[in-house]
Every structure is written in C-alpha cells, then in structure tokens.
C-alpha cells in the first residue's frame, strides 16, 4: 500500500474500498488489507498514537487541574507551536536526508539580528526583521552549499555552525548591550504596526470575546475572557505546517524531496536537481529558525544569547517521533506536528501533575527511543516483500 499518502481523503477512499473491483478479476494476487495494515504504512501513525497516549496519561493524572481548560490548552499549544515551527522545517530537511543542527543557534542569532540594529544602530524595526530573515536564509544557503559542495555529512557542517552562531550571538550581544540580554526591543516592535501585527501578541480577539459573551468560555472578574486571543505563533505554525505538508504530499518539489532523501544518486539519474533541493531546504530550516526567533523576541520583548538552546535536538526528536526516518526518504509533516504536540503536552502538563518535572527529559528520551524502534520496524516492513 501507499507509503506516501496523498492526503487523508485518499486514505479514507482506500479504506472504504480496499480492493478496487476492476482489479480483482484480472489479478488474483490482489489481497484485501485490513484497516490496521493500511494505518501501519502511514509514517505519522506512531506520533498520533503517542499523542493519544500522552493525552490519556495527562487526562488521568491532570484531568481536573485545568490543563485541558482553554487557558491550559493555549499554554501547552503555544509551546508546541514554537517547536512545531522548527520541526516542520527540520522534517522536510530530514526527509531529504540531511540535518540542520544549527537551528537552535540560529534562533538566538536571529533574535540578536532583530534586536541589536534598532536598539544600538538606529534602524527601524521592520528593517531589522527583514535583515534577520535575509541574513538567516543566507546562512542557511551557506550551510546547504557547504554540505552539497563538500559532500560532508550535514551533521558535521551544521554542528560547526551551531557553535559559530551561538558564539557570534554571545559576542554581538555583549559587544552592543554589554550583557547577554538585549532588552527593550519589545516596545519598538510594538510601535511598528506591521511588525507588531505580524508577530506580536494574539489575534482573533473578537472571536474570544464573542464566545465569552455567549458564555461558552470563562470570563475573568473584569468581564474579559480568560484567553484574549489566539497567539500568533499558533497561526504561523498552522500556516507553515499546512503549506509544507501540501508541498510535500502534492507537488513535484515534494516528490523531489522524497527522491533526494530516498536515494540521491537515483534522483540525480532521473534528472532531479539534487543540490538545489537540498540547499533550498537548508534555507527553509533557517527561515523557520528565524521565524521562531522573531516571534520569541516579539513575545518576550528581548533577545538573549541562550535563546533556542538545544532546540535543534528537540526539533529532531519531534520529527523522529513523527515517524520520519533519520536516513531520509520517508516521513510526514503531520507526524512532526504531532511530535511537537507531544512535547508541548509533556513539558507543560508535567507541572500540572504532582510528578516531579525533573522527569520531563526522562519521559522524552523514552518516547524517542520507542519512536525509533517503531520506525525501524515500519521501515523493515515497507522494504521487505510482504
């Protein structure tokens, strides 16, 4: 059955009619597959199952703690959204067979690129945000160029950039701000209508006040709804995930991503521009990291040298939990998003329970190990005759 499913509808269609009627008479070797078998061929099954499991666990241990009240949901989904943004980029890159370990450092570096020019060089904020995106994407292109040019593992090339960018972030922030934190930029962003509208705060206030007015969501004593709006990071995550998922599953470029990751030599032989595909995905991961950085700086109001620390690993874990193979050629954006949701639920949810939050990492490591074992099983099934 299909490994790379076109979309959910295709799957539903197939599960409704597992063996097309016209195929049955002329080929006795068509057999009906159970719904379970069809589901097993989906890369995202593991993460969806994991998400259900995590929801069930926290439903039992923290069901009455407010974690699943609206403000609790916004709380953990915001964590998931931040991680989800970089997981989407990391997912496409990993399907193409490469890693970007510099993503976490890029978040910090992008933050400094946003914050330093307006605070110390007199730039308008919109210019520094544009500069941050352009700079990050150029660095991503450099990463990609070095990887395809030298044919070195991206692991090592981007590891170098992980240190270079982290170091530069520290150097720049101490040079300009004489501190590891560049503060005050939040107000500047707030005073730029376009940048603030794009990246700062929440949106859809009227929906929430309307729902509160109808009594559907709780109100604060002041009469305001408990949640004033949808954090913009969630909107960005949704847009990015839908866009990336669509490109991957439905477009020619998406097919090229799978081909490049599945067998780059084969991809080259059928005329796929392997280098261009890889470089553009490194640019995408850098874009995602920068978006993370810009949203975070807008939200927190400052840039800091330790922002995004270890986020590259969290992104990779979310992607792997989402069913993408470390070796490339197989995976899904939907899975990576569920991987990010698992992160958000566990990280925030654990503080709603009486479980010591020190267990958070143990739990994640366990999830990762389980996911890898599960993926390994799936792959050996997919490549073997059955």
């Amino acid at each position: 059955m299909s490994v790379i499913n076109e979309n959910v509808t295709a799957m539903i269609d197939r599960s409704r009619a597992p063996a097309p009627e016209k195929a049955a008479p002329d080929d006795e070797r068509v057999r009906r597959l159970s719904l379970w078998k069809i589901l097993l061929d989906r890369p995202d099954l593991g993460s969806i199952a994991g998400t259900v499991l995590v929801f069930a666990l926290f439903g039992i241990f923290a069901g009455d703690s407010g974690m699943f009240a609206l403000d609790g949901i916004i709380n953990w989904s915001q964590v998931a959204a931040y991680l989800g943004i970089i997981a989407v980029g990391a997912c496409l890159l990993m399907i193409a067979g490469e890693f970007d370990l510099s993503m976490g450092s890029m978040i910090g570096f992008a933050g400094v690129m946003v914050a330093v020019p307006p605070m110390y060089l007199g730039w308008p904020v919109w210019a520094s945000v544009l500069f941050a995106f352009a700079g990050s994407m150029a660095l991503g292109a450099l990463n990609g160029y070095l990887v395809v040019r030298t044919k070195l593992p991206s692991f090592i090339v981007t590891l170098a950039f992980m240190f270079i960018l982290r170091g530069l972030t520290l150097v720049l922030s101490t040079h300009f701000a004489n501190s590891t934190i560049v503060s005050g930029v939040g107000d500047k962003i707030g005073s730029d209508p376009v940048i603030a509208a794009l990246f700062q705060g929440t949106t859809g206030h009227w929906v929430f006040s309307g729902l509160a007015g109808m009594g559907l969501i709780d109100k604060l004593p002041s009469g305001e709804p408990v949640v004033g709006g949808l954090p913009k990071v969630l909107v960005w995550w949704l847009l990015l995930a839908i866009g990336a998922g669509f490109v991957l599953a439905r477009t020619r470029f998406g097919n090229w991503i799978f081909l490049v990751g599945g067998d780059s030599n084969a991809a080259k032989n059928v005329g796929v521009p392997v280098r261009r595909v890889k470089i553009s995905l490194f640019v995408l991961t850098a874009f995602c990291a920068c978006l993370f950085g810009v949203l975070q700086v807008s939200d927190v109001g400052s840039a800091a040298a330790d922002r995004g620390l270890q986020k590259e690993f969290e992104a990779i874990i979310a992607v792997v939990i989402g069913g993408t193979l470390l070796t490339g050629g197989f995976g899904s954006v939907l899975g990576a998003c569920f991987g990010a949701v698992i992160f958000g639920v566990v990280q925030i949810g654990i503080s709603y329970t009486n479980i010591d939050s020190d267990w958070y990492r143990v739990f994640l490591g366990g999830m990762l190990l389980l996911a890898v074992l599960f993926n390994h099983y799936i792959r050996s099934r997919a490549t073997a005759n059955k």
Binding site: M1, S2, V3, I4, E6, A10, R14, A23, D26, D27, R29, V30, R31, R250, T251, R252, G254, N255, W256, F258, L259, G262, D263, N265, A266, A267, N269, V270, G271, V272, L325, G329, F330, R379, A382, T383, A384, N385, K386
Partner: protein, 262 residues
C-alpha cells in the same frame, strides 16, 4: 539522411590519466536490434556504457547518433536524444510508491483550483499501472512501495519507465545479474517486447546464456579492447563463450574436472 545505424562508436578510446579504459572500440547498433555487449569484469563495459550514456566523453574517436556526430556533456543530453540507460541500481527508491517512482523527475501535473500546480496522482497511478501491465507486470496497486516488488519486477519497472518516456535506444546494464532464472526470463521477454516496438537495445552482460537467445549481434570486450562484433548467424554460443576471457578458463576447469573424474 537517416543512417542504417542508430548508434555508432568509431574507434573510441577513453583514458583516465595513465589508465587506458577503452582502446579503439568500434560498436554499431542497428535500428531495432538487440546488441549484446559481452565482457568479463574489468573489460571496460562500464566505461563504454557511461560513454554511450553521456557521462564520459570519448578521449579520441567519434560517437554518432543517427549518423550525426555528437559530443554529450551530460546524461541529460543523451536522454533528450532518446538514449536511456538503466543502470544496475535502477534509480528506484524502495520506500516510494510505484507511480511516484515511475514518474520520478517527470511528474505529471495539473492545476489545483486552476492555479496551484500539483502532481496528478490519479493520472500517474493509472498510467504506471497501464504501462506495467503492457509489459506483462500486473501491479496490484500503483500506490504500493517499490520495496514490495521483486528484483525482476523492479528491473521491468525501470525499463518500462524508460520506454514510456520516449527511449529510442535502451542501454541495459546487467539487467539479469542479480536475478533468478524465472525472473531473468521475464526480463528477457521484456527486452523482446521492446524490440518488437522498434526500440534498439544494448544489453550488457557477462552471461552468454542470457545474451545468446535474445541477441541479434554481439560485441565482445576484453581488457578495454573490442574482440570484434558478430551477427548471430556468424557465431555459435560456444564460440562466444570461448572468446570471453572466462570461457577458456571455465573450459580448462571443465577439462580438468572431467579428466579427474574419468
């Protein structure tokens, strides 16, 4: 004017530094024939294929396609002239579906909502199924991963793909090397079908038993040099076997074993 030969190599040599990979090799492929290129390991078969496929350019000598001298600088250019090469690795990705592999790099597209270009998967599935069944392979579901197909089916998929995309000349690099008897026979049948469609084929192998039944003519390579080209009517299987480097070795082994047994 159209030449009698669709592909010609005329006294082609290829050097890699001090290494002489090919020395004055002449090879002529008639339209619609199966030409077997035989040679043991290290005979220069791979270099010859890559020269024909446009990966290498001859150091000296002339390469003509339909009578016209060509200098390919990339496999893409050879492909554009209708010369398709199916390498041993087949350029297939096991984890991807049959249809996605079939159209890899040449995905059919349609416009979603009239604007967004997307892969036309229903067309891709349908055509892949249809073309494979024309070649005698019934794919159960074009959405199944290639990894679930047998080696022979994969070989046939790669060949069917090349034919579908307009190959006039097929260069098949050891298509039967890793296959069992039955699967090899299927691939040979497919070669025969392709010939009936007027496609010219260069079939590279070191297995005379696979080459002899299907071939119209032979070229034997040994240590980078051609030992000559022969029409099938001019040469017996035994003679071909004997001319191959391994032939004499095997014959002497047979003699030795029989001598001992007697």
């Amino acid at each position: 004017m159209a030449s009698e030969y669709i592909l010609e190599l005329d006294n082609v040599s290829k050097y890699f530094g001090t290494v002489i990979a090919l020395q004055d090799v002449t090879l002529r492929l008639r339209r619609g024939e199966v030409h077997c290129l035989l040679g043991d390991n290290g005979a220069g078969k791979s270099t010859l294929i890559k020269t024909l496929a446009g990966v290498h350019r001859p150091s000296t000598g002339d390469y003509r396609v339909e009578g016209e001298s060509v200098k390919f600088s990339s496999p893409r250019e050879a492909l554009d002239r209708g010369i398709a090469t199916v390498y041993q690795d087949l350029a297939l990705v096991p984890l991807m579906s049959v249809a996605r592999n079939f159209f890899a790099g040449r995905e059919p597209r349609r416009k979603l909502f009239g604007v967004i270009p997307v892969i036309d998967m229903s067309y891709a599935n349908e055509v892949a199924r249809e073309k494979l069944s024309e070649m005698g392979i019934n794919v159960r579901d074009a959405g199944q991963p290639v990894g679930t197909m047998s080696g022979g089916e994969r070989q046939c998929l790669a060949i069917a793909r090349a034919i579908h995309f307009g190959a006039k000349v097929l260069i098949l690099d050891e298509p039967t090397a890793a296959l069992g008897v039955k699967q090899s026979a299927n691939v040979l049948k497919l070669i025969h079908k392709a010939r009936k469609r007027g496609i010219s084929i260069i079939f590279i192998t070191h297995n005379v038993h696979h080459a002899y039944p299907i071939a119209d003519s032979f070229t034997l390579l040994n240590r980078g040099q051609s030992m000559g080209s022969f029409a099938k009517s001019d040469i017996t299987k035994e003679a071909v076997l004997e001319m191959m480097a391994g032939g004499t070795e095997i014959q002497s082994l047979v003699d030795e074993l029989e001598g001992r047994a007697a």
